[in-house]
Symmetry: C2
């Protein structure tokens, strides 16, 4: 299984997959040399996604998860068209789960500015149920605040309070965490959104991948799988930030230039 | 609400309570000067629990959670008899949840050596359902390994693998995490125990407290509660270890001598 993100955020997706799919082997690629993706043009992102997708296929992945909203929005279709293995994005499973979960038909979205602007989640939600009201909140400062090594300060509380205020006001009963960083402040989010169901990409992706492998009868049993990492930037910096996100040891991390599929 | 533990482990209980009971005010007492409780005599523990229980009552708690297995085993009954407010331990709610969750009647327990030796969980489980098979595993090295500041190394993986092996062998479908430290390696535990339901004290206590307050009509709504900390040892050391366990900022921490109810 291949998992692809611009940095360490997708490790919250990997940890859910490692917990739910313990027999599978995983390889995770963090394109840290190009992090963050938010500032890049769609053409650049498609080119990067092609390179990383090719590298993951070469590495033996039988399925690829694009665990990055920006890359999903820009390049998911391209990868699905060009690769011969299944490619799954984070947005569709979350949108479906939110529609299944809401009782009052009011769904909230917290995501980066680029993701909210793309309108992708809203479109996917309405495709599942055109009667759902969506309240989207761009949270530009939240992922950077979480990415810091010591994330739990008063600034985080202030940001979560500020960004959840419009969702409380709208009376949503379900909120999509539209960025892989947000599960790291799950307890704080639950506190600021009492009684609200939180949908996070890790659990939904793990469920989607499980279903996918079972239907294709590709699932393995009775073994403990392996996992390994590669990144296009500095491996030690990946390790330092990554442990908090993965909540497991990272082990070997290869520094890789995806354009040449060469270890540096 | 008062929460009491020998150290920072009970913060995993507090974080679940802060998420589930956002309107309540909490005060947490870590008896860090006497940490760890595991080596102390029952008489000592009862005396400590009396002092801390008295301090929490003075601090305005309307209900006390003993978020420490060792203190629960030694002193829960004493506190319940001597204090005029309700006192809840971690074990009974977990035992009940495990009995409700199991489908094949085989329940596992992971806990410290003292907790396993006390036989309290097993007794509580059999009180709920005498037909349940209990497999208890003492995990003496796990909580200390988790307590280290950088917890995610290969040693943790080895320990979790070793301690979960008898549970896999016994074919349990439900496992009680009988120590407040263990939720910090939840993903790793899920990976090593595929298909098994994990029962952790945080969620069960939050549920128990909610029910308790609702029945007594003591629950508050439409406000965001406060939380604060006190400990009998060094406040900065409490802060350093505590942030990982709480996953929220700790704010003010008072150093307190519970024997005199005096701030140092």
């Amino acid at each position: 299984m291949g998992i692809f993100d611009s940095g360490v955020g997708g490790l919250t997706v990997l940890r859910s997959c490692l917990a739910a799919l313990s027999a599978e082997d995983f390889v995770y690629f963090g394109d840290t040399d190009k992090f963050p993706y938010g500032d890049r043009a769609d053409d650049d992102l498609r080119e990067r996604a092609r390179l990383v997708g090719g590298w993951l296929t070469e590495a033996g992945a039988k399925l690829i998860v694009v665990a990055c909203n920006t890359a999903s929005a820009a390049a998911l279709g391209t990868l699905q068209q060009e690769l011969s293995i299944p490619v799954i994005g984070v947005m569709a499973p979350e949108a479906r789960a939110a529609v299944q979960s809401t009782r009052n038909g009011r769904v909230g979205l917290m995501a980066t500015e680029a993701t909210v602007r793309s309108g992708s989640y809203e479109r996917l939600i309405l495709d599942n149920d055109a009667g759902v009201d969506v309240t989207s909140v761009a949270c530009p400062a939240l992922a950077p605040a979480i990415q810091r090594v010591e994330p739990y300060d008063d600034e985080i509380v202030r940001l979560v309070d500020e960004y959840t205020a419009p969702l409380r006001e709208a009376g949503v009963d379900t909120v999509i965490l539209g960025c892989t960083h947000y599960p790291l402040v799950e307890h704080l989010l639950r506190r600021m959104l009492p009684g609200v169901t939180l949908i996070s990409s890790g659990e939904e992706i793990a469920r989607e991948v499980t279903e996918n492998l079972t239907r294709r009868e590709l699932d393995r049993v009775d073994r403990l799988g392996t996992y390994r990492f590669a990144c296009s930037g500095d491996a030690e910096s990946f390790r330092a930030f990554g442990a908090t996100f993965l909540q497991m040891p990272l082990g070997r991390i290869d520094e890789v230039d995806p354009s040449g599929l060469l270890a540096r």
